[in-house]
């Protein structure tokens, strides 16, 4: 109920429930109040137009159309609601059959329901209208039964989910009768979605009913509902259009009332619609450029990537979170730089930001962000530069290829887009690149679809895709995480081979310290959106100075690990980017942390951002004791 009232306060809900309230009010009270006005014959004003006396004019017997539309609300709504009830009740009983009566009766029934659902509602209505004959009663039955298959399928799906749960199995095992299981156990658990769908369905039923009456198969004179009034008014549309249009408008409004109310509740129960971040951030991607230092004229030709004070921000529920908070680094020609850190440390966002692949609403600012000496934030289009010189390898090769296109075509299009290659040249290059990444039978493979490739092959093909141009930098975001160990090795070897043959720089993002130590020259350790240590890969195991780096290294088991001892882990939780503490972000988890660490944030100086770099760590037992105290 609480959620229903919350639904009623959304804009959609206000409109929907408002219309519904008006409609229901009219359905109850209009006939009581305006019965006389709606029935009176004004023989001086037959088929009159709109006037002060008759707002919507009169019909061919001189009856006031405005009041007739209002009074017709009751019959229209009553008939629609009755038909909806029939549809829901018959539907639920049909849908419950497989759950309650077993599959021998239930499955053919559901098969029949599936066949019936495939027919448009109106066709079923006509079918039943033939059986039940012309008239309001027949029409209610017709519309109701025609709607039953839809609710049968809905009820079946919902109940099948509930019936699998333990309490239903327990009830059945203890011999509770099927009817009782339905009423006591199944219905309460599916009531909410059923009511929502019935509300939306009532809108549709109302329209069907109006259609049936409009065809002359529903309500018969002297009774009248909106559909009947439209039929009566259509003939005189030249003389008196309001006679047909006014009831038409009523049908639309009442239909929307049910529809929107149901939708509003459905949304409140289901997906939260996030409108909070509307006003928070306007895209100000390049705002920080004004404050940036002027680009150096003497660009170092060896510099592939130059990043200074890179920040990434996202609007988040009325606030702004900053997962990357000022990252500065450079990558030289042929150099391999690893970025390690736990999930949420901002390493992947850093990689996507330097590749210019973050999109609205992400907001990327940097004092300098340059690829091969070209500032990416200078306001011009860098598609060509990035398309030929920066290659990306993503984490999950299973989802990184487009399932709708052949692998070869997905490689070839890059050459067509950036190198002006003909279709044939591009295809030949694609086949050549596939063979360069050791894919056997590349001619045949190029013509296959991604789902015909294994994970490791796809990841190599992905690298081959990056090699279509003449890349100077490969950004590999967790390229081996989704692969099993033997395939990991192939992919890492592949990256190393590409790097040495073409003198390509590599940024390798990973949470796996051992992978990075093996492949890279230099390692950057990220924590809570900052680089906390930047050191040669060879020093990782022996000369790391930041307590976090040392904890990461210690967490990697090696050949000398004690197999009986529990694997080392890092105490505590990573920082939530929405609540970065003052001071050093790692302080809460750090055995060396003191007052200064908790208040003052250390900056990256001579490769480490720590107030106690290289100090010896207390023995693990001491930390365990502290943990207990805490």
């Amino acid at each position: 109920m609480q959620r229903w009232s919350r639904a009623a306060r959304t804009p959609l809900g206000i409109v929907g429930f408002g219309l519904l309230a008006v409609t229901l009010f009219l359905a109850v009270f209009a006939p009581l109040i305006w019965h006389r006005q709606a029935g009176d014959y004004d023989t001086d004003n037959l088929l009159a137009g709109a006037s002060g006396e008759h707002w919507f004019g009169t019909d061919n017997l001189g009856r006031d159309i405005f009041y007739r539309v209002l009074v017709a609300t009751r019959l229209s709504i009553t008939l629609a609601v009755s038909a909806t009830l029939i549809a829901v009740v018959v539907g639920v009983v049909l849908g419950a059959a497989p759950t309650l009566l077993g599959r021998w009766i239930g499955r053919p029934l559901i098969g029949l329901v599936n066949i019936l659902v495939a027919f448009p509602g109106l066709l079923l209505v006509l079918f039943f209208a033939i059986v039940f004959g012309v008239g309001a009663k027949g029409a209610v039955l017709a519309v109701g039964l025609a709607g039953a298959p839809t609710f049968a399928r809905l009820g079946h799906t919902l109940m099948a989910a509930v019936a699998g749960r333990d309490f239903v199995a327990a009830a059945r095992a203890s011999g509770v009768r099927p009817g009782r299981i339905l009423v006591r156990h199944l219905l309460p658990n599916i009531a909410e979605p059923l009511i929502v769908n019935a509300t939306i369905g009532a809108g549709g039923v109302l329209l069907s009913f109006a259609g049936l009456s409009f065809l002359g198969l529903g309500v018969q004179s002297p009774d009248y509902d909106w559909g009947r009034m439209m039929q009566d008014g259509l003939g005189g549309i030249y003389v008196h259009p309001l006679a047909a249009l006014a009831p038409g408008a009523a049908v639309i409004i009442a239909g929307l009332a049910f529809n929107l109310s149901g939708e509003a509740v459905a949304r409140a129960l289901g997906v939260q619609v996030d409108v909070a971040w509307r006003a928070v951030v306007t895209p100000t991607r390049h705002r920080a450029r004004a404050a940036a230092p002027p680009p150096a004229d003497d660009v170092d030709p060896d510099l592939v990537l130059d990043v200074a004070n890179l920040r990434v921000a996202f609007p988040h529920g009325g606030d702004v979170i900053r997962p990357v908070r000022g990252v500065t680094f450079q990558v030289r020609r042929g150099e391999a730089v690893g970025i390690v850190g736990e999930s949420g440390s901002g390493k992947s966002l850093t990689a996507l930001a330097v590749a210019d692949l973050l999109e609205f609403p992400a907001q990327v600012d940097a004092d300098r962000l340059a690829v091969l000496g070209t500032d990416l934030h200078d306001g011009t289009d860098h598609r060509h530069l990035l398309g030929t010189s920066v290659a990306m390898v993503f984490q999950d090769p299973m989802t990184s290829f487009n399932p709708a296109h052949r692998v070869g075509a997905q490689l070839a299009e890059a050459a067509r887009a950036h190198q002006g290659a003909t279709r044939k040249q591009a295809w030949r290059r694609a086949v050549d690149r596939l063979s360069a990444v050791h894919i056997h039978d590349p001619h045949r493979r190029a013509r296959q679809y991604p789902f015909e490739f294994s994970g490791g092959m796809r990841q190599r093909a992905m690298i081959g895709m990056g090699l279509m141009g003449a890349p100077k930098l490969i950004v590999a975001d967790e390229p081996t995480t989704a692969l099993d160990v033997t395939v990991q090795r192939q992919v890492l070897d592949m990256l190393r081979e590409v790097r040495t043959t073409d003198d390509v720089a590599l940024i390798l993002i990973s949470h796996d310290v051992s992978v990075v130590a093996e492949v890279c020259d230099r390692v950057m350790v990220m924590y809570a959106g900052r680089v906390v240590e930047d050191l040669p890969a060879a020093d990782l195991a022996v000369a790391a100075r930041h307590p976090y780096t040392r904890a990461l290294v210690a967490a990697v088991p090696d050949m000398h690990s004690d197999l009986d001892a529990p694997l080392a882990t890092i105490f505590g939780q990573p920082v939530d980017p929405a609540h970065v503490p003052d001071g050093c972000a790692y302080a809460a988890r750090c055995p060396l942390a003191d007052r200064r660490c908790r208040t003052q944030e250390p900056t990256l100086t001579s490769g480490v951002a720590c107030w106690h770099p290289g100090e010896s760590l207390p023995v693990p037992h001491a930390r365990d004791a502290r943990e207990v105290d805490a």
Partner: protein
């Protein structure tokens, strides 16, 4: 003994053949179509028998002489046992003998032959218009409103498509007649006479489906635009149109097609109402008249025609889906 190896290899070949997923799909889909057709035909047959009282008496009216009623009943074979009647009915269907209309005494198949083309034209044209409008609109709005961009455009699109999708086609037809025919005199009020007479009925039928379909296209596009493979396409720095049309659209089409199949089915039924608004000489106006006049042979035949049309559309959609997205529809072994 010598025959054994042959038999084994024969069986081997048969299972190979059966293992082909396309063969299995075709068999499954054909079976489904046949069962659906049988349900439809049987329902149409029993429809007349479910009518309370004597359908012939009801059709001819209370004043008809008793011997006329019994003669008519005999002519329609309603005196025979039910199973015999069912057999006659099935045989009639296979040979195209659908009986004569009680009202006009014309062969039912002749009436349908005259009326069906007008209805089919209307439904197919409306469907084409809906698809041609909905796909570019849905794609365009999806690209514009991604990740909460262009909030106002999104609000305008969503609210107008919700409202247009909820307006029943016959009400829209009446409004169109009032605005474009009665007031502006741009187009004819009713009838089927020349290209201009098609505009209003086709539009009245197409607007609602176009609104619904464009919303589906937008939602599908939005989810496809956030996939990893679209990020790959962006990482290749392809042009915007290429990313959206070549990489995203084909993957958004599966659900779109499923829904458009359903819409085409409901369009066929929707013609009944719209034909009555525009006095269109199709099946829709005929079925309503024959329901009111209780002309059961004619009603039975028209119900069958509509039903078969819908079943064929559903089957075609399934086959097209299987060809376009083989993995999702027929499954990979």
């Amino acid at each position: 003994m010598s025959a054994t190896p042959v038999a084994v290899s024969e069986r081997g070949r048969a299972t190979d053949w059966w293992r082909n997923r396309w063969v299995r799909f075709a068999a499954r889909r054909t079976l489904r179509l046949l069962v659906s057709l049988w349900v439809l035909v049987t329902a149409a047959f029993f429809m007349v028998h479910l009518v309370p009282g004597d359908p012939i008496r009801a059709a001819l009216g209370p004043l008809a002489p008793a011997d006329l009623v019994s003669a008519q009943r005999h002519a329609l074979g309603l005196d025979d046992p039910l199973l015999v009647q069912y057999g006659h009915f099935l045989r009639g269907l296979l040979t195209g003998q659908l009986g004569d209309s009680i009202g006009s005494q014309l062969p039912v198949s002749q009436i349908i032959g005259q009326r069906l083309p007008a209805t089919a034209e209307l439904a197919l044209l409306a469907f084409a218009v809906a698809v041609v409008v909905a796909i570019p609109l849905g794609v365009g709005v999806a690209v514009l409103t991604r990740h909460g961009r262009a909030r106002r455009t999104e609000l305008a699109f969503v609210s107008s498509t919700v409202i247009l999708g909820a307006v029943p086609d016959f009400v829209l037809g009446v409004v169109f007649v009032f605005v474009f025919a009665v007031n502006l005199h741009w187009l004819p009020v009713a009838g089927r006479d020349g290209a201009s007479s098609f505009v209003l009925p086709v539009l009245a039928l197409a607007v609602g489906p176009a609104a619904i379909l464009s919303r589906i296209v937008r939602v599908e596009m939005l989810s496809v635009l956030d996939t990893d493979y679209l990020r790959t396409a962006r990482a290749k720095r392809l042009s915007g149109p290429r990313i959206n049309l070549v990489h995203a659209l084909p993957n958004a089409v599966t659900a779109t097609l499923t829904v458009s199949g359903l819409l085409l089915g409901s369009l066929v039924a929707g013609t009944v109402l719209v034909e009555n608004v525009f006095a269109w000489p199709g099946l829709g106006s005929t079925i309503v008249q024959s329901i009111i006049n209780k002309d059961y042979p004619l009603v039975q035949a028209i119900v069958l025609v509509y039903g078969v049309g819908v079943l064929l559309i559903n089957t075609v959609v399934d086959v097209v889906l299987a060809v376009l997205a083989p993995r999702s529809t027929i499954g990979v072994d």
